[in-house]
C-alpha cells in the first residue's frame, strides 16, 4: 500500500467523521535502528473495515492491525512499541531490525 498525500489523508478522516465513523490513525512516532518505514508514516483503519496507507509491511503490520482493532473498539489512543529483532526479521526474510514506536490515535471517537 502506498503512502497517502496529506490532504487526501485528512479528507478521508473528515469524510469518515461525517458518516459518524471512527478512524484509528497509526503513525510511526519514533524509530531506532533499521526499520521499514520513516517517522511520520501513517496508516488509517476505518471502523467499517477499510484501510489506507502503510506503516511498514509484514514486520509489524499484523500487530498494528490487532492493536488498531482494539483502539477502534475502546476509542482510547496509546503508544505501542514494536521491536524487530534481527532474528525475527531474517526469519521473515525482511530487512528490518530495530524498534518502532507507533502511536495509535482515535479520530471521530465520540458518536454524534
Amino acid at each position: 500500500m502506498a503512502t497517502i498525500p496529506q490532504l487526501e489523508l485528512y479528507h478521508l478522516i473528515e469524510e469518515a467523521g461525517e458518516r459518524g465513523e471512527r478512524v484509528v490513525v497509526a503513525t510511526v512516532a519514533h524509530t531506532r535502528g533499521s526499520t521499514p518505514q520513516r517517522r511520520g508514516a501513517k496508516m488509517l483503519f476505518f471502523e467499517g473495515g477499510a484501510v489506507a496507507g502503510t506503516v511498514g509491511g509484514g514486520c509489524v503490520e499484523a500487530e498494528v492491525w490487532a492493536e488498531a482493532r482494539v483502539a477502534l473498539r475502546t476509542g482510547r489512543p496509546a503508544l505501542h512499541r514494536f521491536s524487530l529483532t534481527a532474528d525475527e526479521a531474517s526469519e521473515e526474510g525482511m530487512v528490518c531490525g530495530g524498534t518502532m514506536e507507533i502511536f495509535l490515535d482515535v479520530w471521530n471517537a465520540q458518536k454524534t
Binding site: 461525517e18 503508544l79 502511536f103 482515535v106 471517537a109 465520540q110
Partner: protein, 273 residues
C-alpha cells in the same frame, strides 16, 4: 482535556489542515503520545500563527507553539520529544512525550521553460514523486502530445508573471527551476518567482550569464539576502553534459535542499583519515 476523540474537534482539525494545505502553507500538528493524562490531545499550529485545539494546559500549548517554529525550521517530517527536552520549565509535563508532525503541501516542482533541460527535469521530477508544473510561453513546447505521462501539469502562458504567482502561492514545499531559453525570459520569471519566496529557486546559465540577470534584479531593488539564496548556476556539480544529466543535477539539488542533505559523497569520511 480534549483529544481528537471529540468529533467536533476532529472536524475542526481536519478542516484547518485542509485550509492550510489549500493555501500552500505549512503547519505543525503536535500530539501528546505518552503521558499520565491527556494522551491524544493535540494542537494544530499554523506557520502564520493560527491555532486549533488545545492540550488543556495553556502553558503547554504555548511551549508547543514555540517549539513548532524550531521544528518547522528543521527538515524532519516527524519527531517525538520529551517535553523536558524543549520546555524544561514545565515540570509536571517533563516526562510526557509529544509527536510533532509537519503538515505541508505535497512537494511540487515548477519548471519555467520547456526546452531540453526543462522537459527532462519535468519527467524526472515526476518519477521521483513530485507534483510537476511545466510552463512556457511557446504553446507548442507544452503541448500534451510531448508529455503524455500523467502528473505533469502543462501551462502555456504568453506572460509568465501571473501564472507563476498563482502556481507558487505561499511557496511552502515549492521548488522552482528557471530554465528558459534566454536572459529576458529568465529575468521575467525570476521577478515573479522571487516575490513569491518559494523554498528553492534555481536559475540555469553560466556564472557570467546568471550574474547579469542577478545584477539587473539587484538594481531593481530585490533584497541582497534573497538574491544570495538563489541557486545560480543551478544544480549540483556532477559534471553533467546531456540535458537529462543536467536535469538530474538540478533535481539532486532540490532533494538535498528539501531533506537537508549536503550534496557530498556519503563515502567521503573513508578518505579523510
Amino acid at each position: 482535556m480534549s483529544g481528537a476523540g471529540d468529533t467536533n474537534l476532529s472536524a475542526q482539525l481536519t478542516r484547518a489542515v485542509a485550509r492550510a494545505l489549500g493555501d500552500g502553507a505549512s503547519a505543525v500538528l503536535a500530539t501528546i503520545v505518552e503521558a499520565p493524562r491527556g494522551v491524544g490531545a493535540k494542537v494544530l499550529l499554523e506557520e502564520v500563527g493560527g491555532r486549533t485545539g488545545t492540550t488543556g494546559d495553556a502553558a503547554l500549548d504555548d511551549a508547543l507553539a514555540e517549539h513548532a517554529r524550531a521544528f518547522l525550521a528543521s527538515h524532519a517530517e516527524a519527531r517525538t520529544l520529551r517535553v523536558g527536552e524543549f520546555a524544561p520549565a514545565l515540570g509536571e509535563w517533563r516526562d510526557a512525550r509529544v509527536l510533532f508532525e509537519r503538515i505541508e503541501p505535497e512537494p511540487r516542482v515548477v519548471v519555467c521553460g520547456a526546452g531540453h533541460v526543462g522537459a527532462a527535469l519535468a519527467r524526472l521530477a515526476r518519477v521521483v514523486g513530485y507534483r510537476v508544473t511545466l510552463i512556457d510561453d511557446r504553446e507548442t513546447f507544452v503541448a500534451r502530445e510531448r508529455f503524455p505521462e500523467t502528473g505533469i501539469e502543462l501551462v502555456a502562458a504568453p506572460n509568465w508573471t501571473d501564472p507563476l504567482r498563482e502556481l507558487i502561492g505561499a511557496g511552502r514545499g515549492v521548488s522552482v527551476a528557471v530554465v528558459t531559453r534566454g536572459h529576458n525570459e529568465d529575468e521575467e520569471c525570476m521577478r515573479a518567482v522571487l516575490a513569491a519566496r518559494p523554498d528553492y529557486v534555481g536559475m540555469i546559465g553560466s556564472r557570467r550569464r546568471t550574474n547579469i540577470v542577478l545584477a539587473r534584479l539587484r538594481e531593481s531593488g530585490f533584497d541582497e539576502e534573497l538574491l544570495s539564496q538563489v541557486r545560480a548556476p543551478i544544480g549540483l556539480d556532477l559534471g553533467a553534459v546531456s540535458p537529462e544529466e543536467v536535469a538530474l543535477s538540478v533535481l539532486a539539488e532540490i532533494v538535498a535542499q528539501r531533506r537537508g542533505g549536503t550534496g557530498r559523497p556519503l563515502s567521503e569520511w573513508r578518505r579523510q583519515k
